[in-house]
């Protein structure tokens, strides 16, 4: 599916409504059934897709509203990982999880989520998964000799799933690896594992790397300089980074290293409830264009909109779309 110049999209997650938070927590407290929760999720995802369409996004996601957080949805699906179910009281809490043996190959059931997305929109789609490095950092490793070995096996299992997603029609798959920023010393093996994950996957691959958005706050601070030049070895087509909150200092890196991939440029600050104006968004896009050609820019928020109230999340997406239109007009495109 073709998209316009400076295509707009979300990083992945959309605003999590407080009523859905309560219902998810009710599920863990056994006050509602799995069947009811699945229906609730279907409704919430349809609504998130509709909001993205109404906001005018070119590429839509499922809003990740089925997920409790970016880790547990995958950890629950990975065979061989032991989960302490009593460790989660509020749905957003992380499970205490540990790996006690070799992770076997198995289907993870993500294809159904993608098919649901595909069936509910006519726009271009993006499907997002959490990458092996971030998962390996959250699971207590009691079997593998190193985190790298654990991440490698997770990548092996997930590679099968990514191939199935591509077969099901996923044209753009995004891998989220925020933990790179917390553990820059892991980057070399992180990229190796990433390449294993996407090997033979017939889809465009994007990687999103931010400084964390757990509870709507950053987990680390620093500079993206740590990514270079190692990230240039990643077999990806798009790198998505946050620039709205942190400012554009690291954009220099794109001039310095001329990476071959597209830049997914974060132009919406997801950690601040103040809604950007379209003019501000346009200004941020223009700034990115000083370093990267417009044909290689994708416009998106800094990270997921999970922690923002729905009205604010929607208004921010609208501003992002309107700001992009201003720049497109300036480029006569």
């Amino acid at each position: 599916m073709t998209v316009p110049l400076l295509p707009t999209t979300m990083v992945g997650s959309y605003s999590m409504p407080s009523w859905l938070e309560r219902l998810k927590t009710d599920y863990f407290a056994r006050r509602i059934s799995r069947h009811d929760l699945d229906e609730i999720h279907d409704c919430a995802v349809r609504s998130a897709i509709k909001d993205q369409e109404m906001a005018g996004l070119d590429i839509v996601t499922d809003g990740e509203l089925r997920r409790d957080n970016m880790i547990d949805y995958f950890v629950e699906r990975l065979p061989g990982i032991h989960i302490d179910r009593s460790s989660k009281k509020f749905y957003y809490d992380f499970y205490d999880s540990e790996v006690l043996g070799k992770i076997p190959i198995a289907a993870l059931g993500l294809v159904d989520d993608f098919k649901f997305l595909l069936a509910n929109t006519e726009r271009a789609t993006k499907f997002c998964i959490t990458g092996p490095h971030s998962l390996a950092k959250r699971v207590r490793n009691k079997y593998y000799p190193t985190d790298e070995a654990l991440a490698t096996d997770i990548a092996r299992v997930m590679n099968m799933e990514l191939k199935e997603l591509a077969k099901a029609g996923a044209e753009l798959i995004q891998i989220d690896e925020p933990y790179y920023s917390g553990f820059p010393e892991d980057l070399a093996w992180g990229v190796k594992v990433l390449n294993l994950l996407v090997e033979g996957v017939d889809a465009k691959i994007a990687v999103h790397i931010c400084y964390g958005n757990r509870y709507g706050k950053p987990s680390w601070e620093g500079s993206y300089r740590y990514l270079f030049p190692t990230i240039l070895g990643a077999k990806i087509q798009q790198l998505s980074l946050e620039f709205a909150r942190r400012g554009g200092e690291d954009l220099d890196l794109f001039r310095e290293f001329s990476p071959p991939f597209e830049l997914g440029a974060g132009v919406i600050d997801v950690k601040d409830q103040a809604v950007e104006t379209a003019d501000l968004v346009a200004e941020r896009i223009r700034k990115v264009m000083k370093f990267v050609a417009p044909e290689k820019i994708v416009v998106l928020p800094d990270c997921g909109l999970f922690h923002l109230p729905r009205d604010i999340a929607f208004a921010k997406l609208r501003a992002m779309v309107e700001g992009t239109k201003i720049v497109r007009k300036e480029l006569n495109r």
Binding site: F90, Y211, K217, E221
Partner: protein, 483 residues
């Protein structure tokens, strides 16, 4: 009738309990209480430890049914400390009579407002006036604010506590440096500075540590002193004179520090405050029969005291309410002579009391909870709490807390020295305000609710009893990042 004994002083509690049971049974037998009233009567024996407070010795609090029908339950609170021997019977008779305060406007009270949430009561304007014109008050009483604290000292200035705090921060910087994550500028924020005695001592100690270890962190410090009172900020300068080049004095609202300091979002490595939360606007809720009620208040001055104040200040009694309004706008100079104005202020403050009533939260759809809290959350929390509870919402503290967190650097932390009720059961065993402390208001802070708000904002909260002074009521709250 159910009798709750909310304090544990053996001699007075036992005697008060015995007298209360005997008094209420007698009133019932004499027909002053109907069987229905008696059955729904809840009597609380409190020990209001603040000598200056807003309570009468006997207070009735009733909850009206939402359809305007008969009150569902009668709550009588008896302040054992204020109660004169032999006075209980008459006070209760008056409190439960048809013309009881709370049901109608009592003739012997000069009301200063209509029923409303405590947070919006005129008493907070007095509190504001006190901090804006602290110097006037101190000159009039001849003693500093600190001397008027219980014990005459502030735990906020304890040298060892300050030295430990400086060392803890230095260790954090050391760790960040080891991981190459130490920012070029090291921001620290003190909210509610007082006379900056603590800030000065903290900077002295930090400077020494830095020199002892040769770490060069001290010159990178950016120490922000924040207070909403400009006069307080002015008065705080001398205490940090030695470090003045590192200090910035910032007028900010403790309820929303991020509004003023938005440019420091996620950049402040340490935020500290001492005895600020307990003085922020607050209100109370009651959890009863699985329902939540707001405690509404109505400030008044007992008529005999109003007459004495008026006569002492050469005013007509009818002028009292209007003069209070002016006092709150312009201070003691509202009267021709400053001294007379001060006497009016102090006497009025001493005389002010609060009537109370309970209103079902469903009948107050516009009553707002602090951001980060919802009724379902509170109700979930209270399911694990004792059956019936009256507790502080600590709305000002919650607001301040939640609006401070966005300033914190990912590895930064918030430390608060204050008086906290750290779990729900605490509210069954004591009185935690509102009390009067000199010209200001004091409320203990609801730590259980703070913990909940922190949790949802990505932090774990820890409370440590202040270990530096025996008998201290202070706790130290500190945050750690929640995974």
């Amino acid at each position: 009738m159910i009798l709750h004994v909310n304090h544990t002083r053996r001699d007075s509690a036992a005697a008060s309990a015995s007298e209360a049971v005997s008094t209420f049974l007698t009133l019932f037998e004499e027909g002053h209480l109907t069987p229905a009233q008696f059955a729904r009567l809840q009597v609380y024996l409190d020990w209001v430890q603040y000598k200056q407070n807003f309570r009468e010795p006997v207070t009735v609090v009733e909850a009206a049914e939402s359809d305007g029908g008969e009150p569902s339950r009668m709550e009588i609170r008896i302040d054992s400390r204020q109660l004169a021997p032999g006075s209980l019977r008459e006070l209760v008779k008056k409190a439960i009579g048809p013309a009881a305060p709370g049901r109608a406007e009592a003739e012997d009270r000069i009301y200063l407002e209509e029923f409303r949430s405590l947070r919006t009561s005129v008493v907070w304007s007095f509190n504001h006036l006190y901090w804006q014109r602290l110097k006037d008050w101190e000159e009039a009483t001849g003693k500093s604010y600190e001397k008027s604290l219980p014990g005459g000292v502030s735990d906020g200035h304890h040298p060892q506590a300050i030295a430990d705090s400086a060392r803890e921060f230095w260790k954090l910087l050391r760790e960040l440096e080891t991981h190459h994550q130490l920012p070029a500028e090291i921001f620290i924020l003190e909210i509610g500075v007082g006379l900056a005695k603590r800030a000065g001592m903290w900077l002295d100690r930090f400077c020494e540590l830095d020199q002892e270890n040769g770490t060069q962190y001290y010159p990178r410090l950016r120490f922000l002193l924040g207070d909403y009172s400009l006069s307080t900020l002015d008065r705080s300068r001398p205490a940090v004179e030695k470090h003045i080049d590192l200090c910035s004095f910032i007028a900010l609202d403790a309820l929303d520090p991020t509004r003023t300091l938005a440019f420091l979002r996620h950049k402040v490595l340490h935020v500290h405050s001492s005895n600020t939360y307990d003085n922020l606007p607050d209100e109370e809720l009651v959890w009863r029969d699985n329902r939540l009620y707001w405690v509404q208040v109505r400030a008044y001055i007992p008529a005999p005291q109003a007459a004495r104040i008026a006569s002492g200040c050469q005013l007509a009694p009818a002028e009292i309410a209007r003069t209070i309004k002016r006092l709150l706008e312009v201070g003691a100079d509202t009267l021709p002579e400053h001294e007379r104005g001060m006497a009016f202020w102090m006497n009025t403050w001493n005389a002010i009391r609060l009537e109370e009533r309970l209103v079902d939260r469903l009948d107050l759809p516009d009553a707002e909870l602090p951001a980060g809290l919802s009724y379902p959350q509170i109700e979930d929390l209270l399911h694990d709490a004792p059956g019936e509870l009256r507790f502080h919402l600590s709305s000002g503290a919650l607001e301040s807390f939640r609006n401070t967190l966005p300033l914190l650097h990912p590895q930064g932390y918030l430390q608060v020295q204050d008086i906290f009720v750290t779990d729900w059961s605490g509210y069954s065993t004591g009185f935690y305000g509102p009390g009067k402390l000199d010209g200001s208001i004091v409320n203990w802070v609801n730590g259980a609710l703070l913990r909940e708000v922190a949790h949802r904002a990505g932090y774990d909260l820890h409370f440590t009893p202040f270990p530096y002074r025996a008998g201290s009521k202070t706790s130290i709250l500190y945050t750690t990042e929640r995974e």
